[in-house]
Subunit: 316 residues, 2 copies
DNA sequence: CTCTTGCATAGATTATCATCTATGCCAAGT
DNA sequence: ACTTGGCATAGATGATAATCTATGCAAGAG
């Protein structure tokens, strides 16, 4: 048998002939002419290397080889139907996998979206990578993930961003801070306090510093800490003040207070980022569609700012 | 997915690439050039409708669809390998089926061949049809069977015969028949006895009658019986004499004796017959090959006369 | 920095496929 | 005897498959 000359089309024709029991009938069903069917079967028999039919004039029967070939065809075509089904589901974003890389801060909110999503699409396998801005940026450059979440999307032509959440930065102080009740509190009044900061390059620190610069201010004592969590604990235990994403603060945190500093909260936003130069897995696309539709069910609408639809449009 | 453009060749190439992990290596193994492989994969992806690889320059990975396609390919190619195995066995005559039609008399000897044969080829399904000469001839004309056994092969261009067994016809009488010990016993001395005969047209009767004619003799009383068995019993119970195939008589039959009539035994032979105008199933061919090789192990060599080899040659 | 390795692309060629129309042949009904 | 339905054969044709050589390009190894 020369498998190289076998076409699925050939098998289809063969199966059709066997099931209908007639060349002509098969031809009709396949929208072919009868001679075409005859010839296809001839070629099939050639490819297989043995006769498939015993022809006695008008009436024919399958040979043993033909019978067995029929079984094989049914199996094989069935297998590919299964594959086709799989493809459809894949296409619909119901199956598959994708990975998403988050900057640290975003891990406080993203689970609220990912949870409902993976409940709705249990067959999609999501991998979440978490790192600081620099690390996630490195992953972005090396195209390691399918989606990214940044506050400040990297400047690259490949970047395709969709804003989805406000990310207000507030000045936090330990509970009972003397200036907590002030009106018209300016940051300049706080410059003698120690500030706890994330590492340079972190989005919140960058934003804060550029704001300071625009105000012509310079911080005094600072202390660098690697995580928002550590900073939060640090502030509440009186190590100093900090500028943190509002989302980092629990709804009720007894140890902290937000200072009503003028110019604050600093407004920034989180974005979903995809690369235009990488194929976005259908499942990731499906995730974005889910976000577009269900964002407000996942997160408090006071923070949401759903531009994911635009992103989807731009991704085609 | 457009299954009509899928070729098994395409799948093979794909599988080879996936298993080797490299286009170039796959090309080497398949004795193709690397660009060919590239293009085949491109076409495959087109046919499937979704990308199969995520290409990051030199390094690529399978997409989900690609992974699943690979599974499908392995299944499908495996299924056809199975089919191919089946074909080989079919080709070797180890599997399949055939039918053989016997004239009545041959049923006394053919089981001695068919038994060992189906022991050696348990996966071949043999159908044995039995009838008198006329009935078997009718089956031959209607091409109902794959092989036939006749004493006198039908005269047709389609006939391809191979002699395999002597079929001596002897005159049998009840044990203790007065002429049993005679020397120079001529049939003319027996014409006053009643003869038990098979139906007209049966090979043994035809042969006997034409011999009678050549000797210028005519039978007296006759009695027609439908089976050799009935005749044998009839003779042993004294109803008369008969001319029977030697093979019909058990090795030791206490009730019968063979009369040493001059000119007897009449020599005839059994033949296997195939039709040249019908495809002979490979299994039937295998059966004939078995007969050619093992005839003497199945039947007493004093009767065998193995010309089946010639028949096989003539069948190609 | 250069060389090698591995994949992609372009262009060309031959084989073969897929399909048609026209026609022939055979068996079965009417 | 004639028609009809069903298969085979022949010849033609446009599409496309399979394969090559030549060349480009990018990443990793020396």
């Amino acid at each position: 048998m020369n498998i190289r000359h076998l076409t699925f089309r050939l098998l289809q024709v063969f199966v059709s002939v066997v099931t209908t029991g007639s060349y002509s009938e098969a031809a009709r069903r396949l929208h072919l002419t009868q001679p075409t069917v005859s010839q296809q079967l001839k070629r099939l028999a050639e490819a297989v290397g043995v006769p498939l039919f015993t022809a006695q004039g008008n009436q024919w029967q399958l040979t043993d080889a033909g019978r067995e070939l029929y079984r094989a065809c049914v199996d094989v075509l069935g297998r590919f139907d299964d594959f086709d089904d799989y493809l459809s589901e894949l296409e619909a974003g119901k199956k598959g996998r994708f990975s998403i890389a988050l900057v640290n801060t975003a891990q406080y909110v993203l689970p609220r979206i990912l949870g409902p999503y993976s409940h709705a699409f249990p067959q999609v396998e999501v991998t979440v990578e978490i790192g600081n801005r620099q690390q996630v940026l490195a992953r972005f450059d090396r195209q390691l993930d399918d989606l990214y979440v940044f506050s400040h999307p990297p400047a690259s032509e490949a970047t395709c961003a969709g804003r989805f959440l406000r990310n207000p930065l507030v000045v936090v102080a330990p509970k009972g801070h003397p200036k907590a009740e002030s009106e018209h509190l300016s940051l300049s009044h706080l410059l003698d306090e120690r500030f706890l900061l994330r590492e340079p390059g972190s989005a919140s620190r960058m934003l804060f510093e550029s704001w300071l610069q625009s105000q012509g201010l310079t911080l005094g004592a600072t202390l660098q800490m690697a995580s928002n969590e550590a900073i939060r604990i640090g502030v509440s235990s009186g190590m100093g003040l900090a500028v943190l994403s509002r989302h980092v603060l629990p709804a009720q945190d007894v140890g902290l207070t937000i200072l009503p500093v003028e110019g604050f909260p600093l407004e920034s936003h989180w974005h979903f980022i995809a690369r235009r130069d990488c194929r976005l897995p259908r499942a990731a696309f499906g995730f974005l569609q889910f976000v577009e539709q269900s964002l407000d069910q996942c997160l408090d609408p006071q923070w949401t700012e759903n531009h994911v639809g635009d992103m989807l449009k731009s991704l085609g």
